[in-house]
């Protein structure tokens, strides 16, 4: 289990309170967080390599923002990533450019977002997935892209129950 696109407080909170099996080694996966397709495609390839080097295929992935699109890319590339549960926190929707290969997801895909996310608006992404394979959860929060990875929001709205 890893967290492309999220870290810091959210990592500590999830590890201590939600998923004790969260990857906690110092070499955990990270990417540039760039705003270009090139940066995301590169990160998708890096994620596949990271997982393969550790023989960790089938991980559940908790992702934030474009980290979700990186994870989706990683299921599409050659010899792609097998994912357990794919959790998308405030993921900008750019279908068909970024969408998961559902054949590579062994459990389920869950999207958790807020109303009218302003960062997604700037990114010109869609706010919600209309794919039946992705379960949508909308938090009673407006505009705040970062809310979906904040521990206090997870506690207040019982986000762990959505996973």
């Amino acid at each position: 289990m890893t967290l492309p696109g999220a870290g810091g407080d959210s990592h500590t909170y999830i590890l201590q309170n939600v998923r004790p099996d969260l990857y906690k080694q110092p070499d955990r996966f990270g990417w540039s967080g760039g705003y270009s397709d090139a940066a995301r495609n590169l990160a998708g390839e890096d994620l596949v390599q990271w997982v393969n080097q550790r023989r960790e295929q089938g991980l559940d992935l908790i992702t934030h923002s474009h980290g979700g699109n990186v994870a989706m890319q990683s299921t599409q590339v050659n010899t792609g990533l097998t994912v357990g549960e794919l959790i998308l926190l405030s993921c900008p929707v750019h279908i068909p450019k970024y969408q998961p290969n559902f054949g590579m997801i062994t459990k389920r895909a869950v999207s958790i977002r807020v109303h009218l996310d302003l960062v997604i608006l700037a990114d010109r992404g869609g706010q919600r997935f209309s794919l039946p394979q992705i379960t949508e959860n909308v938090l009673p929060v407006w505009f705040d892209h970062s809310a979906s990875h904040k521990p206090e929001i997870w506690q207040k709205y019982n986000v762990p129950a959505m996973l």
């Binding site: 760039g34 705003y35 270009s36 090139a38 590169l42 302003l118 960062v119 700037a122």
Partner: protein
């Protein structure tokens, strides 16, 4: 409240596009150092969306070491190889976060070849 500041950034980006006034672009550059994660993201996205117009402002920021490592990431996102040689020296920067961002930026350029 950050929401009003975010709306301000959207209008600033539109006005910058219409007028080309550098001081408007610099407002977005300044927002990269905001304490609010949403404002930093919105500013970054709007700068990349501005394309070539954002490049001299980001180069200016790079020379002043402002908003590193984000400035490095944004320059790579713009994808203009002219700035690649300006990024190169940062790959051995004394700040490991800056050095790593520069190395990632160079990889993005490489992947675009």
């Amino acid at each position: 409240m950050w929401v009003f500041q975010a709306i301000g950034l959207f209008f600033t980006a539109i006005a910058w596009r219409l007028t080309g006034a550098l001081r408007l672009g610099r407002t977005l550059i300044r927002a990269l150092s905001s304490r609010n994660e949403n404002l930093r993201n919105i500013a970054g996205i709007l700068l990349v969306r501005a394309g070539k117009r954002a490049e001299p402002l980001l180069q200016e920021a790079l020379h002043r070491r402002e908003n590193l490592p984000m400035t490095l990431t944004l320059l790579a996102d713009l994808g203009d190889r002219i700035v690649e040689k300006e990024i190169q020296p940062f790959s051995t920067d004394r700040d490991p976060r800056v050095a790593e961002a520069a190395r990632q930026a160079l990889r993005v350029f490489e992947s675009n070849r």
